[in-house]
């Protein structure tokens, strides 16, 4: 059963004054961002700008130094372990490094997020879900392979399938199209768009791929020096005369 959501007008992710540093290295400094239900936000920034750190803070894998992150209206850093777990079930996270489990087959990798104790799926049901997720990324034939037997791009797509298998309400993609050829990259971008429409999901997409940004984004955020330097649609930003913005669109 689909639950009735109450965030249709409110911000599903709300980040205010986020600050995170590692020792003396201040990565995020007073970063603000709002994401609405059904909205795709693309985050662009230089390597090492703190994009991955940002989305890790959102799921509570890292804890911010100060500032507030609200997901579904709850402050992430104040959630109990169980509540965090419930929140994470509604959030899909694609790791930049894929983070597929080496010791498991593709099937077991995809089944892993379904192990949550409150998901009472039957055996066939799980099989169907796995098959559906694999077909979405066009890799149904790899179901019994180990990650080591897959190419880099295939790993990325399997990781994407694993991220989407629970039909999350929020999806955080860390470079979903890096390492893919332009054709597959485009397919993945379209898949992201399709997922957004089908599940009315909100996404943060970290990408250097302008094509992907163009296809998927409702809004683009440019992350410079730890803050949200510029925000706007693809058309607005690509026409910008600001040098720091422009450099990303050449």
């Amino acid at each position: 059963m689909e639950e009735v959501t109450t965030y249709s007008t409110d911000n599903i992710i709300e980040i205010i004054g986020l600050k995170k540093s590692f020792g003396k290295n201040c990565v995020l400094n007073n970063f603000n961002l709002n994401v609405k239900q059904g909205e795709n936000v693309v985050v662009i920034g230089k390597s090492g700008a703190g994009k991955s750190v940002l989305i890790k803070c959102i799921v509570g894998l890292m804890v911010q130094d100060s500032g507030s992150i609200k997901v579904f209206g709850d402050e992430v850093s104040k959630l109990s372990h169980d509540d965090l777990d419930v929140m994470r079930a509604k959030v899909g996270f694609l790791f930049q490094s894929n983070a597929l489990y080496d010791s498991m087959t593709v099937r077991e990798n995809l089944e892993f997020p379904l192990r949550r104790h409150w998901i009472k799926s039957t055996k066939e049901n799980i099989g169907d879900l796995v098959m559906e997720a694999l077909t979405n990324v066009g890799l149904a034939e790899t179901i019994n392979m180990k990650p080591a037997e897959l190419s880099g791009g295939m790993k990325k797509r399997i990781a994407l399938a694993r991220t989407l298998i629970l039909k999350p309400k929020i999806i955080l993609y860390d470079e979903p199209t890096s390492g893919l050829d332009p054709v597959t990259g485009k397919e993945i971008s379209k898949l992201i768009l399709e997922v957004q429409k089908k599940y009315n999901a909100a996404s943060i997409i970290i990408s250097h791929d302008l094509n992907c940004a163009k296809i998927t984004s409702n809004k683009i955020v440019i992350l410079v020096d730890g803050t949200c330097y510029a925000m706007g649609t693809y058309q607005e930003l690509s026409a910008s005369s600001d040098k720091k913005v422009n450099q990303f669109f050449d």
């Binding site: 890790k56 799921v59 894998l61 777990d85 994470r88 079930a89 959030v91 996270f93 790791f95 490094s97 983070a99 597929l100 489990y101 080496d102 010791s103 892993f112 997020p113 192990r115 949550r116 104790h117």
Partner: protein
């Protein structure tokens, strides 16, 4: 600077104890990862079987052959089976087997968890709603605690057979007579302490391997270091536990 090494040692010891306490805190709360526990038991037990049995046989054989001349000199040759079997079962086989397990199990756990850590697989489990400490650490520590004693008991048995072969090199003795002589001296009171000791060996090997792997840092370089220091520390701890066990047994007069 002078005390840096000492400080590091104390910190590390404290952290390992904290890790062990976390094991007891999280290990007994549901949900239990039973399937993964069985898989780890199979991994640890099955892969260590060939090396543990071979070394068990060789230990029994070698200790018997080497003890023979000395005992012959004192004219106590007929005591050979009983003396050798007691020292094998009480001390030599448990410690040597535990050292082999420290090398084999400690390094494999350290390297596996270490590479899972640096490739973000542990983070990935966390966002997938599975407690990685329970799924990875608790199962492996329990499996090591169960399997190391079983391997040691098996190795004990095989080393006795090795001793039988060793005795037969110099004299002909039936297996029946040999067994009779062995069990005149070797009693349950010898086996039980060594099994209890083995439980601690297994637990220490599991905890240290997991601690090192779970806290790996600095990418692939860290994985090698994690595996390496898991072996070094657990080897040391095996000897340390052995020392403590000998003292306790001495006080209780059971060894």
């Amino acid at each position: 600077m002078k005390y840096a090494a000492l400080k590091f040692f104390l910190l590390e010891t404290g952290n390992i104890f904290r890790f062990a306490i976390r094991f007891f805190k999280e290990g007994f709360k549901p949900r239990y990862e039973f399937a993964e526990f069985l898989k780890q038991c199979y991994n640890i037990g099955n892969t260590s079987l060939p090396i543990v049995t071979t070394t068990g046989l060789i230990m029994g054989l070698v200790i018997t052959i080497q003890s023979h001349p000395a005992m012959e000199a004192f004219g106590t040759e007929s005591w050979l089976p009983s003396i050798v079997s007691v020292s094998l079962v009480r001390e030599i086989v448990p410690v040597i087997t535990a050292l082999i397990c420290a090398g084999k199990i400690g390094s494999s756990i350290g390297a596996e968890l270490g590479s899972m850590k640096v490739t973000e697989q542990i983070d990935s489990m966390e966002v997938s709603g599975t407690n990685p400490f329970k799924y990875l650490v608790v199962t492996r520590v329990l499996a090591a605690t169960l399997m190391v004693p079983l391997l040691i008991v098996l190795s004990d048995t095989i080393s006795l057979y090795g001793a039988f072969i060793g005795v037969n090199i110099n004299q002909i003795i039936s297996f029946h007579l040999f067994a009779n002589q062995v069990f005149q001296k070797l009693s349950f009171g010898d086996v039980l302490p060594s099994v209890i000791k083995a439980l601690f060996f297994g637990f220490a090997i599991g905890i240290i391997g997991c601690y090192k792997g779970y806290n790996t840092q600095n990418g692939t370089e860290g994985v090698g270091k994690a595996a390496n220091s898991a072996v070094v520390i657990s080897t040391f701890v095996v000897f340390f536990i052995d020392l403590i066990a000998a003292q306790i047994a001495d006080i209780l007069h059971i060894l």
